[in-house]
């Protein structure tokens, strides 16, 4: 469903992503791991067509993102980092807007909104201005926006960031359930999440893929058998200055 080939992105002289390639099929949940600034968000932004790659290509459902941006965007649901939304709108009008932008009208729109409101537990805040909501609700509102058109591909940039443990658990469960019928990529800092929700994980460091495998395979590669130790052994903290 998602095919990323030799994807690279430079901002000026800084290389954010270098030669990243991977594939995600239907029924797969890919966990995207890496330290801050490793290029996770940049890669996701290129897959969703928000920023064009400097080199390489992305295709979603067999269509190239650069050549058929609108068709590709139709099949993607995207939760950007920090879950932005139009804060002056109410939850309901925001979801109506998102549904309408996805071409949903009338009864189709109403039932789509009902479905995501239930899925993301927004029943009690529908009429409230997004501005007045807690971070967890804002996050779920933006997630609902990404699900409203029931996309085949989901790109979720840190979907559990800022949620409390209960909410984190719920989102993970939701991702795992939806992963059975969709292709999902989600990024996270939390290593347990990978074990809890992913069928496969990619670790990215300074723009390059440094590991790719099932959570079990990755764990097995650490001497201690812990994912965290493996992660720490192959990535570099941004506080360590590069030598040479």
């Amino acid at each position: 469903m998602i095919k990323v080939e030799n994807l690279s992105k430079s901002f000026g002289s800084k290389r954010a992503v270098e030669g990243v390639s991977f594939e995600v099929g239907k029924g797969e949940v890919l966990g995207f791991l890496g330290p801050n600034g490793a290029g996770k968000s940049t890669t996701m932004r290129m897959i969703t067509g928000f920023i064009p790659p400097s080199a390489g290509s992305v295709s979603v459902c067999g269509l190239d993102v650069q050549e058929n941006p609108i068709e590709v965007k139709r099949s993607i649901g995207y939760l950007p980092e920090a879950a932005p939304s139009y804060t002056e709108m109410s939850v309901l009008s925001f979801l109506r807007f998102a549904a309408e932008m996805r071409g949903l009208r009338g009864e189709g729109r109403r039932s789509a909104i009902r479905r995501v409101v239930e899925l993301c537990h927004l029943e009690n805040v529908l009429g409230q201005t997004i501005d007045t909501l807690s971070k967890g609700f804002r996050h779920r509102t933006c997630l609902a926006q990404a699900l409203v058109h029931d996309p085949e591909v989901l790109i979720l940039d840190e979907p559990t960031d800022g949620l409390d443990p209960n909410q984190k658990h719920e989102v993970r469960t939701l991702i795992r359930e939806m992963g059975e019928s969709k292709a999902i990529i989600f990024s996270t800092h939390i290593l347990e999440e990978v074990e809890a929700a992913c069928t496969r994980a990619i670790i990215i460091d300074r723009g390059r893929i440094v590991a790719n495998g099932t959570p079990q395979e990755l764990k097995a590669r650490a001497a201690t058998g812990k994912l965290e130790d493996f992660f720490r052994s192959i990535t570099r903290s941004d506080t360590v200055t590069e030598s040479a």
Partner: protein, 248 residues
């Protein structure tokens, strides 16, 4: 084609609603109508003119709009960038130009509605005297086009920065430049040392030169073309700025 206008209209509706969901729209309307009335009846010399026309109202509009239109347009793109919603908007299944046009149309409709609310002045003139309502109508067309030109420039400056204050100031400066190149105190000064054809050529770029035609009741296709090309050019430039911003 139908689907692309549906998306534009969805964006425009959201943008219009955003004006009214915050106090922006009401503050804008009240200030606009107060100031327009104030200028018309004091400096404009509405009664002293002794003629049944809206000249006192229309003469002040280029200056009043100079501040109010950038104020209405400054948030269009800078707010999207500040909130990060630009990433949502541009990953929805639409082309960038549709978002640009949708946002522009929403603000323009809002400004036209503000203009329409000045109708009591028209009623007053008609009650007191016997004005040429054709000239008044053409005056309003000119005013709407002027607002559109300023607004397109505000869109452009708004796309340049996530800071609304900077977007506002840049828009005022650019619009002021478009006024001043045809502002007679300044062109007279220029005429002292520059050849007359040069002064005239420069003043052709001014909004005032083209706005005045409409106020005389002359609907000249060149004036119309001028305003439409300023809008088209500024909106096109907005698209380039947004694309560059995404390319990084």
């Amino acid at each position: 084609m139908k689907a692309s206008w549906a998306a534009i209209w969805t964006i425009a509706k959201r943008e219009l609603a955003a004006y009214f969901e915050s106090p922006v729209a009401y503050v804008f309307l009240v200030i606009f109508l107060l100031l327009a009335g104030f200028f018309t009846f004091t400096f404009g010399g509405f009664f002293e003119r002794g003629e049944a026309s809206l000249a006192a109202f229309f003469n002040w509009l280029p200056w009043l709009f100079l501040f109010l239109v950038p104020a209405a347009g400054m948030r269009l793109w800078s707010e999207e960038r500040r909130l990060g919603t630009i990433e949502l908007l541009l990953t929805m299944p639409i082309a960038t130009w549709q978002a640009i046009v949708g946002k522009f149309l929403a603000s323009w409709l809002f400004l036209i509605a503000a203009l329409a609310l000045s109708f009591p002045i028209v009623a007053t003139v008609n009650w007191l005297g016997d004005p040429d309502n054709g000239v008044i109508a053409s005056g309003y067309v000119g005013a709407a086009l002027l607002a559109g030109a300023y607004l397109a420039i505000s869109c452009l400056t708004s796309a340049l920065t996530r800071n609304q204050v900077i977007a506002f100031i840049l828009a005022v400066v650019l619009c002021l430049a478009l006024i001043l190149v045809g502002f007679s105190p300044l062109t007279d000064l220029l005429a002292r040392w520059a050849s007359p054809w040069l002064v005239e050529a420069i003043s052709k770029f001014s909004v005032l030169t083209h706005y005045d035609g409409f106020q005389k009741g002359v609907l000249d296709s060149r004036d119309l073309l001028y305003f439409l090309s300023v809008m088209a050019y500024a909106l096109f430039a907005t698209g380039v700025v947004i694309r560059n911003h995404r390319t990084g």
